[in-house]
């Protein structure tokens, strides 16, 4: 037999099925659902199947034909429905159930949110994810988020009132210094960026990047930190990650990858000549090869260079490690033909006779004085305007030692200079070294104090006294007389031509003469002693009535008995100062002895002279101040001599610097230390140090040497840094413009890097070599106040 269908479609058998109703009669499943069904509220209507009707005293079933018509048994005798089922428990329909679940889920979600937002650590629960380990300490949201300072109720408002971004960034900046204008791209103004933009056009990048840069809304729009640094992405997240595409999008010129289109290294790493003039080609090629026996010669790059910091920037190990091996000596002046000390003071030579003939008053003047009084003469005169003016005029006279034909003004100028010089010496003697300093850098303020000290460090008053005594034996008296106008005008005599004056030739340029490249200036000990004896002679001369220059007040006549004065002083010294110190100061006792000679008669015993075993230079081997005939010299002790540095930094007296900045000058600083200035008007600045990593300097490009040590081939450093024999390295140092240079090395080859640095291997992210935040800035310093240290509160 076969199935007979379960369903009948007729209206009696299949009433409307109403899935839209919320409630279903509890008897539905048993097929006995009551005709009326549950009420809308979900209660059982309890209506039963019919409302029996009483007719002629009999109860009739009134069940609807749709529910099967009158039931067989009919109503009960008391008129209740026969088919009385107990009230059912109506069921929810499918739809009602789904609606109910939805409502519950909604309620639960809202409830959960209430708990989260309303709870104590509500804000903490809102945190979208762990912060990077570096930010672990920032527990409170408002450390970074401005909104956290406001009640939640206000947040909705903030949604529409625009981003809190700017303000939040400011909170980042409380700890992170990234320069003056963090809101600008790279912290640079548009113009600066313009300037940086590469000149040569680049390869151009893929369509996507170009589209992106088309899309770029406003490259000048202010940036906030969050745009690149995505926080709350886990403790290990790289919140500085930056995609190449994003870099390129902003950049006016794009390229596909480091290997494809990245500009070659033309001005990288060198943008200027090296600070230390060290010709790698010459040294490696020549000097190291034929170095004298026993000279310490580097064998590997590493002997001179080493990584300086975490970034592995390579620096020079320094003078001692690198240069001292060969060059320690020439700084102290060892084996140097001329005087190894810098002549700080030097008596300029004048044609005294000519002056006298012209009726000028000179007072006593060292007869054999030559030269124009060292580079510092002008600086010394600067203080006195008339003197300075006079010097200016005098400077034009080509020969000071023959003023016979000079015009009167020149002669007067000479006289003014002479007296100004004496005045200076007098001040020096009376006020000590500070007089010299003041002359050089004007009134000393506290700032200059240190510099002043450096300028004359080790210049003892005794040397000064000795010097002035040697040059102007009774300066004080003479000055007094001069001031009183009692100095006699000397009688006119034929000029005495001294050998030295003949020999002296001033063809050579100023520096050369000053620092005595020509050996002859530097006399042997004998001449020295003679000279030491010389100055006394003219003192015995008769004194003429002075011609009183306007600038000089008249002064009373004086007697020569004042002469012995320096002797007493000297003898005083002899007792006062103990020998060793004395020696150290005066570089030996010859000066003293020459003083002693003053007391004796002219004929000095040769035996005593023989007793001087070593030459003055040798005795001054360890450097310091010393009187050398008509020069007061300073000899550098060795590398990085503080005094010379001080003199070379002497801003106030450019001539000084220019003078000392000669590579030949004693100390030979500028032989290696290049001196820079952007233009002639500027002061030369000497690079005392090699390039060193500066923690506050954030370069746009950084290369980590360390990371590459392990992978260098046999070529080693040379693999990348190839010597360039052709380059004329030295030539660049003739000038003072650091930007003009020729490197010892060829340009680095990008392809070499690109063999490893591709997307697949070592990576070719822009950020591998480049930094976004560039320029000079320091991370914010801690703001802890000392007062806190003692106040009990933590």
């Amino acid at each position: 037999m076969n199935k007979k269908p379960l369903q009948r479609f007729g209206y009696q058998d299949s009433p409307y099925h109403r899935p839209n109703q919320d409630w279903v009669c509890g008897y539905t499943d048993s097929g006995q659902a009551c005709p009326r069904g549950p009420e809308a509220s979900g209660k059982c209507s309890g209506a039963g199947h019919c409302e029996p009707l009483q007719q002629e005293g009999r109860w009739k079933c009134t069940r609807s034909d749709l529910a099967g018509g009158p039931c067989n048994d009919g109503p009960t005798s008391d008129g209740r429905c026969g088919v009385a089922l107990p009230p059912c428990q109506p069921r929810r329909s499918l739809r009602a159930k789904r609606r109910l679940v939805s409502r519950w889920i909604t309620a639960i979600t809202v409830g959960l949110l209430m708990v989260v937002l309303g709870g104590q650590q509500g804000l903490a629960l809102l945190e979208p994810g762990p912060r990077v380990s570096g930010h672990a300490q920032l527990q409170a949201c408002d450390a970074c988020h401005e909104s956290a300072d406001h009640p939640m109720s206000s947040w909705l408002g903030r949604v529409f009132s625009g981003h809190a971004g700017a303000t939040d960034s400011q909170r980042c900046l409380l700890c992170h210094g990234v320069g003056e204008a963090p809101e600008l791209a790279h912290g640079l103004s548009a113009q600066q960026r313009e300037a940086l933009a590469p000149a040569q056009p680049m390869a151009g990048a893929g369509l996507k990047v170009r589209w992106a840069s088309e899309l770029l809304v406003d490259p000048t729009a202010p940036l906030d930190c969050g745009q690149c640094h995505r926080e709350h992405r886990g403790t290990q997240a790289d919140i500085s990650a930056m995609s190449n595409a994003r870099c390129q999008t902003c950049h006016t010129q794009q390229f596909n990858s480091f290997a494809d289109g990245h500009p070659d290294f033309e001005d990288f790493p060198a943008r200027r000549r090296t600070r230390i003039q060290f010709d790698h080609v010459a040294h490696i090629g020549k000097h190291f090869a034929d170095a004298p026996e026993g000279a310490v010669v580097p064998e590997a790059c590493g002997d001179c260079h080493m990584p300086a910091n975490a970034q592995g920037m390579m620096v020079m190990r320094g003078f001692d490690a690198g240069c001292a091996g060969c060059h320690a000596g020439d700084i102290a002046g060892a084996g140097r033909a001329d005087a190894p000390g810098v002549a700080i003071l030097q008596v300029p030579g004048f044609d005294v006779q000519a002056l006298h003939n012209a009726g000028m008053v000179t007072g006593q003047w060292p007869e054999f004085a030559e030269g124009r009084g060292s580079a510092f003469l002008e600086s010394l005169l600067q203080a006195d305007p008339t003197a300075h003016a006079a010097y200016q005029r005098l400077r034009d006279a080509d020969d000071w030692l023959d003023l016979s034909s000079a015009p009167l003004e020149t002669l007067q100028a000479a006289q003014t200079v002479i007296w100004a010089y004496k005045r200076f010496m007098l001040d020096l003697r009376e006020q000590g070294a500070s007089a010299l300093v003041q002359r050089l850098i004007g009134d000393s303020d506290r700032a200059a104090e240190r510099q002043m000290r450096q300028l004359v460090s080790g210049l003892s008053i005794h040397v000064i006294e000795a010097t002035s005594d040697a040059w102007f034996p009774d300066l004080a008296a003479e000055w007094a007389a001069y001031v009183a106008g009692e100095l006699p005008v000397p009688e006119v005599v034929a000029p005495v031509i001294t050998a030295s004056s003949v020999e002296a030739d001033f063809d050579e340029d100023e520096f050369a003469d000053l620092f005595g490249d020509s050996g002859d200036l530097f006399a042997s000990d004998e001449t020295e002693t003679e000279i030491a004896a010389e100055p006394v002679r003219p003192i015995s001369d008769g004194i003429p009535a002075p011609v009183i220059p306007d600038s000089v007040p008249a002064m009373p006549s004086s007697k020569p008995q004042a002469t012995p004065q320096p002797v007493e002083q000297a003898s005083v010294h002899t007792e006062a100062v103990d020998d060793d110190e004395f020696d150290a100061l005066f570089g030996g006792d010859d000066l003293f002895s020459s003083d002693v000679e003053l007391d004796e008669d002219d004929t000095a015993s040769p035996v005593e002279k023989k007793s001087v075993a070593l030459s003055l230079d040798e005795r001054m081997r360890l450097g310091g101040w010393y009187l050398d005939d008509l020069s007061l010299r300073y000899r550098p002790a060795g590398h990085a001599d503080a005094l010379l540095q001080a003199w070379l930094q002497q801003a106030a007296a450019p001539q000084v610097v220019t003078a000392l900045a000669d590579p030949g000058s004693p100390g030979r600083c500028t032989k290696c230390h290049s001196a820079d200035r952007a233009n002639e008007s500027e002061q030369l600045r000497i690079n005392w140090h090699v390039a060193r990593p500066d923690p506050h300097q954030h370069a746009f490009t950084e290369f980590n040497h360390k990371a590459h040590f392990s992978i260098m081939g046999d070529a080693g450093c040379m693999g990348c840094h190839q010597l360039n024999a052709e380059a004329d390295y030295a030539a660049a140092f003739a000038g003072t413009d650091a930007r003009v240079f020729a490197s010892n090395f060829r340009n680095l080859e990008r392809n070499k890097c690109a063999t490893c640095h591709t997307g697949g291997q070592a990576g070719d992210q822009c950020t591998t070599c480049h930094s976004y935040h560039i320029g000079e800035f320091a991370a914010t310093e801690p703001l802890t106040r000392l007062t806190k240290a003692l106040s009990g509160s933590p």
Partner: protein
């Protein structure tokens, strides 16, 4: 009239192209804008609300809006679009934040149930068509009880007539529980006929103990068994078809709420 296959092909192609385009646009946008999340985020938000609007549309059946079928097509393909936007928005990571995790879960639940539901909606109806009488789901229990009454009557009658208890005993032990209500729910969902096969085997095995006058009843029992099985099948499959939305709709509700909070927080705290 375009066939369903053609329509599916067409819509898949169109949306495929559209998705590809969207990805390109997004990647470009990501490189050119500071916060691409705002693009993907707003797209996602709009999509989600469009998708939710389908629910509204279903309730507005009385208005002359375009057919619900068209809306469903839109719903389906926009749904896939939303999944894509979500992937772009969230990236390959499970969010760590509480709110975000809840939101993530809600979305995954919604989208997942949606996709599963789509699959079921396309597969199950065919199975329903192939087997048994097409009955209204809510009436299945009633029909089952109808079958139960018939079978009981049948067995009792047989027992009374023949005095043999074979069928009655078997009915008491095996069939009564079987006819008591829907059975073998999971077996039917998984398309396994084993349980009913075993049962009818045991029923057939009774033949040897039956007298000639019982065979009629036995034969009818076999048929009733079969009919009951069909009902069970329809009950199971239709249950699945009708109930998956009980996951889909509430999850959506939760998601919508969380989304609003999410947006609020994002705007209040974005730096």
């Amino acid at each position: 009239m375009i066939t369903f296959a053609q329509r599916r092909l067409r819509n898949t192609l169109i949306s495929g192209l559209f998705f590809a385009l969207a990805i390109v646009v997004y990647t470009v946008y990501r490189d050119s804008h500071a916060r691409p999340e705002f693009l993907s985020g707003w797209t996602l938000l709009i999509l989600v609300f469009l998708l939710a609007a389908y629910h509204i549309r279903k309730r507005l059946s009385m208005l002359d809006l375009s057919p619900a079928a068209s809306w469903l097509q839109l719903h389906i393909y926009l749904g896939f679009g939303a999944v894509l936007a979500f992937a772009l928005h969230v990236g390959p990571r499970w969010p760590d934040g509480l709110i975000e995790s809840m939101l993530f879960a809600a979305f995954v639940l919604t989208a997942g149930s949606g996709i599963v539901g789509l699959y079921l909606s396309r597969r199950l109806p065919r199975r329903l068509t192939r087997q048994g009488e097409e009955v209204i789901y809510e009436r299945i229990p009633a029909f089952i009880s109808q079958l139960r009454d018939e079978s009981e009557a049948l067995v009792i009658d047989a027992a009374q007539r023949t005095g043999s208890s074979t069928l009655a005993d078997f009915y008491r032990d095996e069939l009564a529980p079987y006819f008591a209500g829907p059975r073998h729910f999971w077996a039917h969902l998984l398309g396994s006929g084993k349980p009913i096969f075993m049962l009818s085997q045991r029923l057939n095995a009774l033949q040897r103990y039956l007298g000639a006058d019982e065979r009629e009843a036995h034969a009818q029992l076999v048929v009733l068994l079969d009919q009951k099985n069909d009902l069970d099948f329809h009950y199971a499959v239709q249950t699945l078809l009708k109930r998956w939305t009980i996951l889909h709709v509430p999850a959506t509700a939760a998601m919508l709420i969380l989304v609003l909070v999410h947006v609020l927080l994002v705007y209040a705290f974005t730096a």
